[in-house]
Symmetry: C2
Subunit: 288 residues, 2 copies
């Protein structure tokens, strides 16, 4: 990692001054109501990435609530978001000394100018820096080869048809043992592992972890299923403020049944700490 | 299992006519607004069990939404519920052909008669019976000894001080290898496994799965932590309608850090299908 990190040092963006920060910035229109222009820079084909959208909602709630960090945030995805204007409405459910809970909705407009809800979120926020330093864990960092043995979209022809603007914003290096799908030989195991960072070198923070958990190719590809795997619900627990440097993300699917599957993500930081856990329920749209 | 099942056949309750059904029954006061008297029969010491409360909310949403089954339901616990009167307010967020999404709040009253919110829930419902029968899973049922080699509260002195009314409502037989805490010798592993059913013999259904995921002793006991482990947030995915007969529940905690831990539960039915997955974020209140 020291090599990879030093290679980008010259142009490195910082937390607060980066593509991710500019594209998640909201304008407060009224108490609890925010405007944003959803960036086309975080799309996969034509859909806006669900992790980017969750980070937008997470940022609105960080402003609306007395606490800054999303300890647990649950999002139900209602309809596909498009790049362009959107409004976020937040509601403070409860405030406490250690935790506060809020709700938020992301809405866009249809052709008649009517609001259409895209995502609804419920979240409990706290202050990660106030937590005691005790850690008792049996979790182990994922076994993933060094970054220069892993592969990104820039290392070969785009494995997914259509443009994926998000690929230009991410530093994503996939473990070759979870890349069989890109060569037409899916492993059959529902696993996906990668080194993850922001392309402009911005270090991770709790909000960018909300992006990290939903940025890898779907595990369904390695199960041998191509097509669209839209998220129904995604819950993220942020467990620790991440240390600077690249993250490792490991995603596992154990159960595909009745056209639905779960994706469990773990995110580890450069200090070998488990910084986020997430689970999503997604739908398999065969042949879509 | 055939032996255990036949022993209770004579007095077996049925889905729709059981303690669980009577204690989760709601009265519709107005469209989307329901009254209930929370039963003291599902308390642990003085707190009403979070899984029972989730089943109450889940039942209200099943009435309010056009679909019956909670595919994914996320609850944020705001304050401790007490036995007695409560109101559930539901809100239909979106209805679709396959999935519909709703929100619900459980409220009680303080001494001045003001409403106090206990739990807020966001959920997406569907129809489990309409799903295709495809299953591709790498998940394995938990290794748990036969039921007559497992132990319940009736097999020894109550391991937790205070009355736990819920123990009388459940058929809970814990795997002895996760019972070290009850003998003062916690294993240090964050695991808890049990056979689970309702004491009156009622078979499982999607709503009782919401109870099953939160009915075992906290995994923290096996990590060597006693005290209270209140749930901050609990998300349950119901993946399949459970077959009749006892369930196996396996709960795992991998990461205790900063005073918070996750509990991942899997519920398996008598047909060896993974019928529910859940994850909760809980707080460790040491010495409480």
């Amino acid at each position: 990692m020291p090599e990879a990190a030093s290679a980008t040092t010259a142009t490195r963006a910082t937390i607060g001054d980066s593509e991710f920060d500019r594209d998640t910035a909201l304008t407060r229109r009224a108490p609890g109501v925010y405007d944003i222009d959803l960036s086309a820079g975080w799309t996969i084909i034509s859909a806006v990435n669900g992790g980017y959208l969750l980070a937008v909602l997470g940022r609105a709630l960080a402003d609306a609530l007395p606490h800054d960090d999303p300890f647990t945030i649950s999002a139900h995805y209602l309809s596909a978001s498009q790049p362009g204007p959107a409004v976020v409405r937040t509601d403070v459910v409860r405030t406490g000394r250690t935790l506060s809970t809020g709700q938020a909705s992301l809405l866009q407009y249809d052709e008649q100018g009517r609001e259409v809800e895209r995502i609804r979120v419920l979240a409990s926020y706290g202050d990660l820096d106030s937590l005691p330093d005790d850690v008792r864990t049996t979790a182990q960092p994922p076994a993933i080869p060094p970054m220069d043995h892993c592969f990104g979209p820039e290392d070969g022809p785009a494995p997914v048809d259509g443009s994926s603007a998000i690929a230009d914003r991410l530093m994503l290096k996939l473990d070759p043992s979870t890349l069989g799908w890109a060569l037409g030989r899916p492993s059959g195991k529902g696993e996906m592992r990668a080194w993850f960072g922001l392309a402009d070198g911005r270090d991770p923070d709790p909000l960018s972890l909300l992006l990290a958990v939903d940025a890898l190719p779907p595990t369904a590809f390695e199960i041998g299923i191509s097509g669209w795997v839209p998220t129904v619900e995604l819950t993220v627990h942020v467990r620790c403020r991440p240390a600077p440097g690249p993250l490792r993300v490991s995603i596992t699917t154990r159960n595909l049944a009745g056209g639905f599957l779960e994706e469990d993500a773990e995110v580890w930081d450069s200090a070998d700490r488990l910084v986020a856990q997430s689970r999503q329920l997604a739908r398999v749209r065969l042949g879509a």
